[in-house]
């Protein structure tokens, strides 16, 4: 059986800490760039143009309807092979890119539903006053939609923290990858429980924070 969980943790905690920092970093990158891209996709999916809407729905459905692990394999093995012009991307960057694209599909739905949840009368009132559609979105709809969007976006970050564990498969240094590193030292089972505990602690603390944020946002209603 080897040494116990606590012993392993005390000995190798800097490794787990680095792994955790990697996890938080990759999740942040994925959600941040995923939000930028997702906002764009959301705007397009609210467009009046049927073709643009169709393309968006294909994009969202494919990325949400296939496992992230499969998307990562495709990004890791296939994309650099198939597209010469993308060969400047390191393998690591391909994996991060797949995280971003995957996140963007979920975030675009968060934006879209957040915007749709704002009463249609708000748009009608703004447009009837002669406000342009861009100003209406900027000054009337988005400031109200943000209340629905922010908590959901934070939850997406929490989900992404768990999703990034798949990136360890491709040797990105995140929390799950510490298992591979320690398995080389014949520590096969202890790291799993340490990793699980760290994930659990992170998601619980962050969920609590989101709950508090939601409460504060609803107070201003």
């Amino acid at each position: 059986m080897g040494p116990g969980v606590i012993e392993v943790f005390l000995q190798y905690w800097p490794m787990f800490l680095n792994g955790l920092l990697g996890t938080l970093k990759y999740a942040a990158i994925a959600v941040f760039f995923g939000s930028v891209l997702g906002a764009l996709v959301a705007m397009c999916s609210l467009s009046k143009n049927k073709i643009i809407r169709f393309i968006c729905s294909v994009y969202v459905n494919v990325l949400r309807g296939t496992p992230l692990l499969v998307q990562m394999y495709i990004a890791y093995f296939f994309v650099p092979l198939a597209f010469e012009s993308l060969s400047f991307l390191a393998k690591e960057q391909c994996v991060i890119l797949s995280l971003i694209l995957n996140s963007s599909a979920y975030v675009s739905e968060i934006f879209r539903s957040g915007i749709n949840a704002v009463d249609k009368g708000q748009t009608e009132a703004a447009r009837s006053l002669g406000m342009t559609s861009v100003h209406c979105m900027q000054k009337i709809i988005l400031p109200q939609a943000i209340k629905n969007i922010l908590p959901a976006l934070a939850n997406e970050y929490i989900a992404m923290i768990k999703e990034t564990s798949l990136a360890g498969t491709f040797m990105l240094y995140e929390l799950m990858y510490t298992r591979t590193l320690l398995a080389n030292k014949f520590l096969t089972w202890q790291p799993l429980f340490i990793i699980a505990a760290i994930y659990l602690l992170c998601t619980m603390v962050l969920s609590k924070l989101v709950g508090m944020m939601e409460k504060r946002l609803s107070v201003s209603d």
């Binding site: 009463d119 009368g121 708000q122 009608e124 009132a125 703004a126 447009r127 009837s128 006053l129 002669g130 406000m131 342009t132 100003h135 000054k139 009337i140 400031p143 109200q144 209603d221």
Partner: protein
């Protein structure tokens, strides 16, 4: 009979479908400058849809809408510019809840007419005084009562200096004790010479305040005339049946 009055809104052969349902079945109408027109009729008859077609909140399926001779329903028309001149007040008020009372009024003039902020705010305060809301200027509009919200919505539209005002059942969502205050504001507006088109269930108000009454039923104008003609001597049996139920 030639009519020398200026036509401000004209609709020609207006049809509107929602899916397969034909809500408006060919409406022709002219609204003259300074006129106060009430639109009455049963629910689902097409009154609100007709009103919402006048500023293209609903796009007509067929037919044309003109504002001061310009076709709003044309593809290349600058709708935003024209809508600045066509105020609208909604049943559900639709004040901007995330903005203060003052900002509700000033945001569109500042954004779209490039009115300097100080000037827009001075104008807004003047308007708020006319409806007794000047001491609410700094409050968030979501804190207002229904009646206050609707009075705010009216002056918000007025701040764009419109040439015609559309009212879509402005008192239907109000508590009974709030109705009077809002109707008084609208009545003052009609007396000031503003062209007003009012979809309403307040028959007493329609009779008293309007120059002309239009009865819409089944997607067509079933009857129109002066309040006396429509209310006291309806020619169409459907008008008579409707009035006997609501009066």
């Amino acid at each position: 009979m030639t009519d020398k009055r200026e036509v401000i809104i004209e609709v020609v052969d207006l049809h509107k479908y929602f899916g397969k349902l034909e809500v408006l079945k060919g409406i022709n109408e002219k609204i003259y400058k300074g006129e106060v027109v009430s639109i009455i009729g049963p629910s689902g008859g097409g009154k609100s849809t007709f009103l919402r077609c006048l500023n293209l909140l609903e796009e007509p399926t067929k037919g044309k809408v003109f504002f001061k001779g310009e076709e709003l329903s044309a593809k290349d028309t600058n709708l935003d510019k024209h809508r600045q001149k066509i105020g609208m007040v909604f049943q559900q008020f639709n004040v901007f809840p995330h903005l203060t009372v003052l900002d509700n009024i000033t945001i569109t003039p500042i954004l779209e007419k490039k009115v300097p902020k100080a000037e827009a705010e001075a104008q807004a305060m003047k308007l708020l005084k006319t409806v007794g809301l000047e001491d609410k200027a700094k409050e968030y509009s979501r804190k207002l009562s229904g009646g206050q919200k609707q009075r705010l919505a009216i002056v918000r539209a007025m701040a764009m200096e419109p040439e015609v005002m559309l009212f879509d059942e402005p008192t239907s969502a109000l508590d009974p004790e709030m109705v009077k205050g809002v109707l008084e504001v609208i009545e003052r507006l009609t007396e000031s010479g503003m062209t007003c088109i009012i979809v309403t269930h307040e028959m007493g108000f329609a009779k008293k305040a309007s120059d002309r009454v239009i009865y819409i039923d089944g997607g067509v104008i079933a009857e129109e005339g002066t309040p006396e003609e429509v209310f006291d001597h309806p020619k169409n049996p459907r008008t008579a049946a409707f009035l006997s139920q609501v009066l």
